[in-house]
């Protein structure tokens, strides 16, 4: 029981909005019914914090209790930082049979071998996900609980989602992860976003997809907006067709919320009017970034309303088809010949 426990508690309570404090504490389950009753949640946040700190001192709460509180809050509210997706590669024969306890033990022992001071916490969430909280230390320092790394791994799938992992700790994490899941390698899936469920859905193809068909789809009937007999649309077929193509490219229904898509171009500069640039040997490097609160939705709207030409260029449609939002485009790969597009923010 030291100052670090108290400051961590203070820090966590500061992150939780006042209206969510009561429910979070209830969920935590470390407070007795009387203790919960004694706290007046209508008071300002700092008084509540003070009461909790007093309880912490009386009850001699350990660091473990406090990290539990943090973890249960993060599991319920995961959309607070950038999540990066990683993909495990080359499974070994027994990769599919790894179950929770085995994974837990393996991951712990592998990571503890690599780093002496480390604090690990794992919890299985309801939807098959294993949540891992890692507070990193090193040879001389105790684990730093102020900046923990969170990782989410779905057992029996090759996907791991990580937030706030520094480049220093990345190799250690990757090694422990590959070994304990019985894979041979891990790679960056080139997908990141603030919304964990969205990037999970995108990577695991858990959103409503539309597939190209030659038969007229029920879409046309659903989107009949012209109601009055005296209103007539001249180019009616186009709109339905465009919408269908857009849905094929980006998926139908509600789309996962993605915040950005980045294209790194390493292609030759092509412009007939600008000789000096076109004749240069080296490739012209630039980065095109599309940003929006819900990027896929805006791109679909762009395509369906005719702002972007249909059929949608593979550069844009591969965001949802391949589940990536970071692309490097070079001259050799197919699709590189298409011109870089201007960013359209919606």
């Amino acid at each position: 029981m030291g100052d670090s426990t108290k400051s961590l508690l203070q820090r966590i309570i500061r992150r939780i909005p006042s209206r969510a404090i009561e429910s979070t504490l209830r969920k935590w389950g470390r407070l007795t019914a009387e203790q919960l009753q004694s706290i007046d949640f209508t008071q300002p946040k700092w008084t509540v914090t003070q009461e909790l700190l007093d309880m912490c001192e009386e009850g001699n709460w350990t660091l473990k209790f406090i990290t539990e509180l943090e973890m249960s809050y993060i599991i319920d509210n995961p959309n607070q930082g950038m999540w990066y997706a990683y993909q495990l590669m080359n499974p070994e024969d027994d990769a599919n049979s790894v179950e929770l306890t085995q994974f837990k033990e393996q991951f712990k022992s592998h990571l503890k071998q690599l780093v002496r001071h480390i604090s690990l916490k794992m919890k299985k969430h309801t939807d098959e996900a294993v949540w891992i909280r890692i507070a990193w230390g090193d040879r001389f320092f105790q684990p730093n609980h102020m900046k923990p790394t969170y990782a989410v791994h779905y057992l029996q799938t090759p996907y791991v989602f990580v937030t706030s992992l520094t480049s220093k700790h990345k190799p250690l994490f990757s090694q422990a992860m590959t070994l304990s899941t019985r894979y041979q390698a891990i790679k960056d899936a080139n997908l990141s976003g603030r919304n964990l469920t969205a990037i999970r859905d995108l990577l695991m193809r858990q959103f409503q997809q539309a597939f190209p068909t030659k038969h007229p789809s029920p879409l046309a009937e659903r989107n009949q907006t012209v109601s009055h007999p005296r209103i007539e649309k001249e180019q009616d077929g186009n709109a339905a067709n465009r919408l269908e193509l857009a849905c094929e490219a980006f998926g139908g229904g509600t789309l996962p919320q993605l915040q950005s898509a980045v294209y790194k171009l390493e292609t030759k500069f092509r412009d007939q009017t600008n000789k000096a640039m076109t004749e240069r040997e080296e490739s012209f490097k630039c980065i095109v970034k599309f940003a929006s609160t819900n990027l896929l939705e805006s791109l679909r709207h762009c395509a369906s309303s005719g702002f972007a030409s249909t059929p949608v260029t593979p550069l844009l449609s591969s965001i949802s088809l391949k589940g990536k939002n970071y692309f490097v485009i070079t001259d050799n790969s197919p699709g590189a010949a298409s011109q870089p597009r201007r960013a359209q923010d919606k």
């Binding site: 012209v226 109601s227 009055h228 005296r230 209103i231 007539e232 180019q235 309303s305 702002f307």
Partner: protein, 184 residues
């Protein structure tokens, strides 16, 4: 490319036909709903994204009395599309049967040059330029009323006046100092 002609068909009895051209296809829908509410005359509304209109509808398309180009100032494409569509209109339409309607003109993010270019376009074609509010229902009904007034004249339903006469009074003019920099 087939030109849309104003006088190639016979008019219907007590009816007026309006063609709304809008690239975004959003405001035209609500505007059309407001226009057909009119009871004194039979108003037929045709909606289009851009001109030329498809050939298949040529047969059952009535005589168009008024062509309205709706231009959303927040996007450049909207203006460019309207500009390209103008080429598909017969010159007879420009004797008072075309008008421009601008939306989102109050939006602060719109560059002023864009409105200036729309005004220049309307002035060069001797067409009236209307401003409309597309976000509120009141704005939509207001815009529909103003269009109906013009439409009734261009359809020949108002005695003692013609489209050409009206357009002489209502056409857009460009102030001479439009290209001058302002110092405010």
């Amino acid at each position: 490319m087939s030109l849309l002609k104003p006088f190639s068909k016979l008019p219907g009895i007590n009816s007026a036909n309006i063609l709304l051209v809008e690239f975004e296809e959003t405001f035209q829908q609500s505007l059309a709903d407001a226009l057909v509410e009119e009871t004194a005359v039979t108003v037929n509304v045709r909606l289009a994204k851009s001109l030329p209109l498809p050939k298949e509808n040529e047969e059952n398309r009535p005589r168009i009395d008024l062509v309205v180009f709706i231009i959303n100032l927040t996007t450049e494409l909207s203006f460019q599309s309207a500009e390209a569509s103008l080429k598909c209109l017969d010159s007879g339409f420009f004797l008072g049967k075309v008008c421009f309607m601008v939306t989102n003109a109050r939006n602060a993010s719109v560059p002023t040059e864009r409105l200036d270019s729309v005004r220049k376009l309307a002035a060069s074609l001797h067409c009236p330029l209307l401003f409309a509010e597309d976000q509120t229902p009141a704005g939509v009904t207001n815009a529909a009323e103003r269009l109906l007034t013009i439409l009734k004249v261009t359809a020949g339903l108002v005695p003692m006046t013609t489209a050409l006469y009206l357009s002489n009074l209502t056409r857009c003019t460009v102030p001479p100092d439009i290209d001058q920099p302002t110092f405010d």
